[in-house]
């Protein structure tokens, strides 16, 4: 491993922007293109927003952003200890949202999947959710 950063922050929407900037600052040591940086910022924004809205349902808690660099690859984990996802397969379907009243587009996981090289979601009801994303900086 070449580098590693772990940040715990309160599950409040003000920290969505903070998480994006923190991820961009950490990844910048790999000299990414602006497009690669945008991809990572967007994917992190989606994962952190999910943790706040769905994981903790705006009730507060701690979100962990764990970022690692190995050679030219960045590995980002967004972890919450919230309510968990009952049906991951359903949650990952494009345009599916459990909260249509909030005008959510249901595109969060699709965006993460499209903008990063890999996406793995693990979750346990009542225990929380871990989103693991990787991207190779060319």
């Amino acid at each position: 491993m070449n580098n590693r950063v772990k940040i715990d922050f309160l599950s409040v929407s003000e920290n969505e922007g903070f998480a994006r900037i923190a991820a961009a600052a950490f990844v910048s040591q790999l000299n990414p293109t602006l497009e690669e940086l945008d991809d990572i910022k967007t994917a992190v924004s989606e994962a952190v927003t999910n943790a706040i809205i769905h994981g903790y349902e705006n009730r507060g808690g701690t979100v962990t952003l764990l970022m690692e660099i190995e050679e030219k690859c960045v590995k980002i984990q967004v972890i919450d200890k919230g309510r968990g996802i009952d049906d991951i397969k359903k949650a990952m379907q494009p345009l599916y949202t459990s909260k249509p009243d909030l005008e959510r587009s249901g595109m969060g996981f699709t965006v993460m999947e499209s903008f990063m090289d890999s996406l793995e979601v693990s979750s346990e009801t009542g225990k929380g959710t871990k989103v693991l994303m990787t991207k190779r900086i060319m």
């Binding site: 969505e16 967007t42 989606e46 959510r104 587009s105 965006v111 499209s114």
Partner: protein
């Protein structure tokens, strides 16, 4: 996040500047809805030229306003999105229901 509004004929143009995410989505949605309902406009154009960042929360805003405006017989359009925003819009297929134009002026002409 900063919004400015300008009415041209029957079209209200909302210009967005800054970063559009879940944190400010509710305020943005309420402000656009309030201004649109009091403007007596029929159509709505989203000018994204100065929008530095948007995630899928922004898609929810666009789709939601499209539904409202369409239900009242109006049209919506998107103007000048960044490369990132355009990719998001196309990934979700939003461009099939809300056309994209290079400039706000073209978008206003497109919905007229």
């Amino acid at each position: 996040m900063h919004l400015t509004f300008k009415k041209t004929g029957q079209t209200l143009v909302v210009s967005m500047a800054g970063e559009l995410d879940h944190h400010n989505a509710v305020n943005v949605r309420e402000e656009i809805d309030r201004r649109f309902s009091t403007s007596n406009a029929k159509n709505l154009v989203f000018n994204l030229q100065k929008l530095a960042f948007m995630d899928s929360s922004g898609l929810g805003i666009l789709i939601g306003r499209y539904k409202t405006v369409s239900a009242m017989g109006g049209k919506t359009a998107i103007a000048a999105p960044s490369l990132l925003t355009r990719r998001l819009i196309e990934l979700a297929g939003v461009h099939r229901i809300i056309p994209i134009y290079e400039t706000a002026q073209e978008a206003v002409g497109g919905v007229a």
